[in-house]
Symmetry: none
């Protein structure tokens, strides 16, 4: 049944436009985080730089995914889209996540400006767990055997749950030392991370539903869903990081806790 | 009647050249807003940065729209242009607006430097309404059924009218606290926003005229019209934002209300 793998014009276009939107959003995010660094105090600038790296990496990958989507389909005389012999390369997403997910955790911890030992401990734990989560998910994603897909998916869930646990408990505990204006923002950033990350295991499980879901619904649901989750998790989190950095800079100015520019403080 | 969907050389070129002009105008706007930030006081720089993001996002989309226009047409032996089997993707405009329209409202409110609670309240209202306006317009734009087009268009008009109301009343009220040199500029920016935005519903309604307007007139009118409205609404508004920021910086220097650089103020 090769006909089953045909997309309607509107299904094809929904993915096409969502991928292009992601390129634009990641580009705008990169410019904003990169050039906003001088609006915040010296010690929060690395967090904004890392936010810019995350969206820059994602911008590159969405360019590639967009081109891969176009090359993988060919328009038919009736305006539907059939598959070409070039396979749509969804693995770009895993190449993206293996770099960006540890970096997302770095930016979240970095902006808090915790004592060095505390933030280093948190970062090592979270980055290793994030790496394991993506690396264990990948062999399952490229499986056609649904038993093996479930096995790798389950293994990948262990570091995922561990990250949630660390974010909730340890980040929660260190939250208590944050100034009052900062606390609700950090809570918001943590919630946004969990809500957007929660989407990925759901999309991962869609193929396990088998033929109970039509081809178009599956393809459009997975691609548009991953894309929206990526925009929220990367640009959305970055915007929270920016507002946290602004609030902490204002608090430092009030309390004299940290200079805006170290060079001027030394002068 | 496939012949009805043929553009004359001058009709095709009018759109082609307008789209290229938009790429150039958006690029120039991006560079100007971006590098003008150091000409204005610290607190007005985010407004200029957001202006640069808006034109950068639009520059990306006009590149895509230009390429889509070229791919969607093929020149005939008699120098007229017929449609290819690749559909011209007008949805790029909606992907652009969903990002840039909320940002345009952000830059307009940000440059006023209102007290935090006041500007946050205004922004949340305006950004949500802008998002709804675009999201409700899109399903109508891709409709061939004119009844449904009218329905979605009408729904989209509700948040549109709400934005006009908030800009006129609430922005008008906060205008009273602005210095005398700034007031006429803010009024001008508000008027320019409303005048350029007013064009979009007109272009949206053109297909409702049906066959009373020839294909070429409809296509060229919509594309050139949207393009001019976008240049005015994005680059034009950004220029107003720049002059408002300059006037407010000069006023702050006179009254000592805000430092040009926070680091220097602390030293």
């Amino acid at each position: 049944m090769p006909d089953a793998n045909v997309l309607s014009f509107s299904g094809y276009s929904a993915v096409f436009n969502a991928l292009s939107l992601a390129v634009a959003a990641m580009l705008a995010g990169t410019l904003f985080f990169f050039f906003s660094r001088t609006q915040v105090g010296f010690k929060y600038r690395p967090a904004l730089l890392v936010s810019a790296l995350v969206t820059a990496i994602a911008c590159y990958h969405y360019f590639r995914i967009f081109n891969s989507w176009v090359e993988a389909h060919v328009v038919q005389p009736d305006k539907t889209f059939a598959l070409t012999n070039i396979t749509f390369n969804d693995a770009y997403r895993y190449m993206d996540w293996i770099l960006t997910v540890p970096l997302l955790l770095v930016e979240l911890v970095a902006v808090l400006g915790l004592p060095k030992e505390q933030s280093r401990g948190l970062l090592v734990k979270l980055a290793i767990a994030a790496f394991l989560m993506i690396a264990l998910g990948y062999p399952g994603e490229v499986q056609t055997n649904m038993g093996l897909r479930t096995l790798w998916g389950t293994l990948s869930t262990i570091p995922f749950v561990y990250i949630l646990y660390v974010l909730w408990n340890q980040l929660g505990a260190s939250l208590e030392t944050q100034p009052e204006t900062v606390k609700p923002l950090v809570r918001g950033a943590r919630l946004l991370t969990l809500a957007s990350w929660g989407f990925y295991p759901l999309a991962y499980m869609i193929p396990l539903l088998g033929n109970s879901l039509p081809y178009e619904g599956k393809q459009v649901g997975i691609q548009v869903g991953y894309t929206i989750a990526d925009i929220v998790a990367k640009v959305g989190l970055g915007v929270f990081i920016y507002f946290i950095a602004i609030a902490k800079t204002e608090n430092d100015a009030k309390t004299g806790a940290a200079p805006f520019e170290p060079a001027l403080a030394a002068a």
